[in-house]
Symmetry: C2
Amino acid sequence: MKQKDTKQNILDAAEELFAVDGYHGTSLRTITKKAGVNLASVNYHFGSKEELVVEVLRRRLVPLNESRIKKLQKVLLDEKLLQQPVGVEAIMRSFIEPTLKFRDASPGAMSFLSLIGRALAEPDDTVRKKFASMMEPVFHLMLEGLVKALPGYPKEVLFWRLHFTIGATSHTLRCIDNVPMDKEGKMGTLSTEKLVAMLLPFVTAGMEAPL
Amino acid sequence: MKQKDTKQNILDAAEELFAVDGYHGTSLRTITKKAGVNLASVNYHFGSKEELVVEVLRRRLVPLNESRIKKLQKVLLDEKLLQQPVGVEAIMRSFIEPTLKFRDASPGAMSFLSLIGRALAEPDDTVRKKFASMMEPVFHLMLEGLVKALPGYPKEVLFWRLHFTIGATSHTLRCIDNVPMDKEGKMGTLSTEKLVAMLLPFVTAGMEAPL
DNA sequence: GTCTATATGCCGATAGAC
DNA sequence: GTCTATCGGCATATAGAC
C-alpha cells in the first residue's frame, strides 16, 4: 500500500503548489520535497510533469463535472415534464452550485478551486487544452440549455455571454483567498456560499440582458 | 540614439512574448533574440527581468488608465451638472471603451491586450501586485461612481460585481485571439468593437441585477 | 553602450544500485 | 518501488574586453 500513499501524496502536494504558483512556477523538486517522496518518483508514477498536472486536474474535475452535468440534466428534464421554459438561473446554478458543495465535501478542495481558476489562464498550451477538453461537455450542455431558455437570442450571443460567465467565475476562484485591489477596508475573504449568492444574480442578469 | 532603439526593441519583443507565454514561460534569451539585441542588455537597461515586465506594463497601462479616468471623470461631472443619476452603462463604458480606442491607436497593442488580460492571472506575486497598484485608481473611481449610480446597493455588493466584471473582461482579453471551448463551428475571432458590444450589456445588466 | 564569455544554480528526466 | 547520483540543458545575472 506504499504506492498508493506515494501517488496520493504527490497529487496532494502538486495540487496545492500548482494552485499557488502555477504550472511553470512549480518545480518537481518542490513537489516531491513537500510530498516527502523522492524526486524520481514523479517520473516513475506519472511519466512526466505534464502528465502529473493532467492527473491532478482529472482527479477532481471529472467527478465535479459529473455532478454539474447530472444537475443540469435534471433541470432540463424538469422543464420537459412541466412544459415550462427553462429558468436561466437554474442553469447557471447547476454550474456554480456543485462547486460549492464540492468544496464542503473534500478538505483539500480549497486550493483546487484556485487551481481550476488558474488552469484556464495557464499560458501552457497543453495544460490549458487538456483542461478545456475536460470542461467541454459541461459548456456544450449549458449552451444547449440556454438556447432553449432564451429563445430569440442568437446562439453566438449566448456563447459569448457564457464565455464572460466563465471569465467572472474563474477569476473569482483564482482570487478566492486573496482578493486584490481593495484600498480601503479590505473586503477580506467571503464564504463560498455567500460568494455564490453574489455571483449567481450577476451572471444570470448578464445572460438575460436585453439585446 | 542607439540606446532608445535597443530599449524599445526589448520592450516590444518582451510585450509580445509575455502576452503569449506568460512571465515565467518567457526567458530573457528568447526576448533578446527576438529583439535582435544582446542578452546582457536587458540587465543593463532594466536591471532585471522583473523590472522589465513592470516597465512593459507601465508603458501602455499608464496612458490607458489616464484615458479611462478622464472619461470617467467626465461622466461623473456631467451627472453633477445635469442633476441626473449616473448611468451604469456610461461608467462601464468608460472602462471598456478606451481599451478599444487604445487598440486602434497603436500597432503592437493587440498582444498587449492579451498581456494585461494575463497579468491579473499571473501567479507571480510581484508582477500581479504591481499591476494591481497601477489599476487601483481606476477601480476606486469606478466604485465611487457605481455607489452614486446605484443608491440602495451595498458597497460590498458593488465591489464584488466590479470584481466579476474585471474577471469577465480580463478573461476575454486573455483569449482575444484564441477562444477555447468551441466544439462545433468555431466562433472564431471577433472584432474588438463587436466584442465590446457583447461585453457591455452583459456587465451592465450584471451590475444592475436586483438584490 | 554593447559585446563575449562565463559564473552559478535549478530544471526535468534518467540510469542503475538496492 | 524506491533510492542516489548525475546528465544535459537552460535559466538569470555579471565580469571584463572593446
